[in-house]
Amino acid sequence: MSVAAKETTRLVAEISGLSIAYRSGVRDVPVLRDVSLSLGAGEALAIVGESGCGKSTLASALVGHLRTGSRVTGGSVRIGGEDVLAGDARTVRTLRRQQIGFVPQNAGHSLTPSMRIGAQVVEVLRATRKMDKSAARAEAVRLLAQVRLPEPDVLVDRYPHQLSGGQQQRVAVALALAGAPRLLVLDEPTTGLDVVTQAGVLALFSSLRAELGISLVMVSHDLGAVSAVCERVAVMYAGRVVESGATEAAFRLPAHPYTRGLLSSVARIAAPGLPLGMPGSMADTLTSPGCVFAPRCEFAQESCTEGDPPELTPVEGEDAPRFSACLRLPEVLAAPAWEAQVRPPRTRERGEPLLQISGLTVDYRRRPDPRTGPTVSDVDLTVHRGEVVALVGESGSGKSTIAWTIAGLRRPTSGEITLDGGADLTRTAARRDPAVRRQLQLVFQNATTSLNPRRTVGDAVLRPLRLRGLRGEAAVAARDRVFEDVGLEPGHAERYPAQLSGGQQQRVGIARALAGGPALVLADEVVSALDVSIQASVLRLLDDLRDEHQLGYLFISHDLAVVRALADRVVVLYLGRVCEEGPIERVFSGPNHPYTRLLMDSALATEPGMTEALVGSEDEPESAPPAAGCAFRNRCPQRVEGLCDHETPPWQDLGAGHRIRCHVPVEIGART
């Protein structure tokens, strides 16, 4: 065997010059263009980029799968020396069975709902490793333990729906590991998980690598998740790799303007200020000649828009090899640090109290149950004019319940909600005065489902204007003004939602809310479904609009970094109970409630550029609040037995409106 051949077999995966296109009508639309990457044994490679950059296509190409309608137009993918895209079905199956484990994006959908978890793992073991029944079952329990699932011998007999999202993800990993693969391909493995769960799953990947010496390819849009697990990164834009190299170096000193733009689009938990991001979106640039990124690039010059796209060239003077496809490499490297690309927080006058909630309790239970308490209990909250109050918590913390109650879509069990000092908001929307309804508008998380697909977006914005009594010319003029406010063109009004990009759709959602002429905007996870560069621009838009219109926001989010970028005050919820509230910078400088600290630590660990070892928490979120005592006690590291489980914790005032609801005195808690 020649030296070169040995070199090839040592590589676990080798992608060379891979191009994939799908057929749309009569045209071939390229998805991947000339992608070359290699992965050695035990290495972890991240593939990052925004939606539409081709990263998922690349992930499925790695397991020899092409979506219907797409075909390989050049290049190859070799796993352990074998070409997975050229081989016949039997070879590819053997290869997948023996070499590759694949963890798909949504584990909840990839597990068979009617089969016990153990049976699903056993099925794989019997097929791939030819184990007999009892050996396979024992191995299944061992695998479930390996992915750090609690009580694996009980869990094997559970059904997928009995597990939480994070646990389902771990089962999917166990399934992928069952064939003892050399390569694990992870497609967006933590998207949709809560921040604490996410940190735990990421920590699992790191430790599996260390234990099994397995190679990882992780596809993600989340730069933070990637830097916590993978030491190598490839940044993709419009089907090409634009930068590749060591993750740490690439995130510290990006060598391509797109990497730089991505990094400066991510809201950071470690520092205040709104991310500046980059202009435009990928869809606008796909057909540009020369470098595809040039139209959005702050470094672009005339030569960038001519000729062939720039090739990957090595970045000089670094220990690990790094490549960037940019003609302006020296200028990019010499540019000021991307961390400085923020809009610093403005100091603002806080207006009159707008929304006042006191003692809000919402109970979903049909009949009284002595073991649990109401979903939302005793929540006090105030939003002033021109102020952004963030409501933070994991899924199931009651954030959306509170928002829906305020919006009048659900009736509170008890408590007071008033708007502007007078109007009673405990009534449902249909019973409110139209003037009151108008003052309160909703913006939703999912831009796609928040717009009627069969009505033009102009129509969606006209409707609230009509309800305000505007007709004809006046309404159209008002619509165009609102469109301008949110950065859309009047011409967009005639389009249907599917003809707009995700960011534009979210802008329409905001425009619809503005058209109502609100004083208070309920924004429910409005940026969490968006790509980071779009996210940054929507955040800036929200920030501008509140100054222009003196809007108060109740900003609901699970993302502490986004909250720090936009909010003035933050309220932390756990299982429908407020555990901490205060001005944003005070909360972020601590001391904190143990739950807030858990959230912050988890979020901080997955900040892009953080290289500290991830310490995953084994915690799984709980689903039902207890009837008495502190809701967080089961997960709390500083629990006081006999106190926390019986008595509701008292408020501790830390000054300037920062308060914490905990039995343990803050000074003591902060030290542990």
């Binding site: 879509l409 139209p434 999912n446 697909p453 069969r454 309800l467 011409g491 599917a498 109502g516």
Partner: protein
Amino acid sequence: MTNLALRVRPRRLSLPARPSLLIGLFLVGLNVVVALAAPLLAPYSPTQPNALDAIEGSSSAHWLGTDQLGRDVLSRVLYGGRYAMLISLSAALLTVVLGTVLGCLTAYRRGWFDEVLMRLLDSVLSVPAILALLVVVTALGSGASVIILASTVVYCPALIRVVRAAALSIVGLDYVTAARARGEGFWPIMVREIWPNILDVVLVEFAMRASWITLLVSSLSFLGFGANPPTPDWGLMVSENRSLLTVVPLATIAPIVALATLIVGLNLAADGIAKARGIDRITGGLR
């Protein structure tokens, strides 16, 4: 430039040319036109007996021959769709309108209203359609309005269920929530938000129900409970002439073929609408 391009796009439902859809619409259209223009097209009176020419095969005078009373089969076939189509189309229309409103309402209201209505519909659904119709016709007579109302009652429950299921997936979406939050009532929400999104289901249901009711009405006529002799009606014609199948086969086959074109046409149209609505630009517009 871009503005111009946007303006020329059709705003309303556009059905791309699909062979199955076009054939279906053509067959249905043909049947409707023939039924409307029957007085102009028919060479003889459809009801006038002529004992001298009874039971004749195909000839230049009678293209499709004559039946046992000497009536021209071609004329009877041309007229024969009128009764069935009038009843089935109006019954289908009534079913669809009533079913859509009730289906949307029950999906929107949920709670006890949904519960009561659904159990009520279950009880109607548990009776076979033809049996229920026979009972109604026996009790109330076989007038057109009785049959229309009876088939509406018989077919509405299934439609309400289908529409309810389609609407349920819509009422939970954020744009409906947004409408409710701005205080809109049931009618504007149904007309503006729900209806356009379940239109595909409704259109398909309409075409399907129309073909089922046509079959049902023809079955009734065949059994002697629908159209009364000497009304020219396909179902009745089959019933009258089946004993002569070996002597003048065309008298039985011609109305069957005519009925088949209508049913197949309605089904093809339903299929085509479903497919066309599924891939139109609203759901995949960006491509």
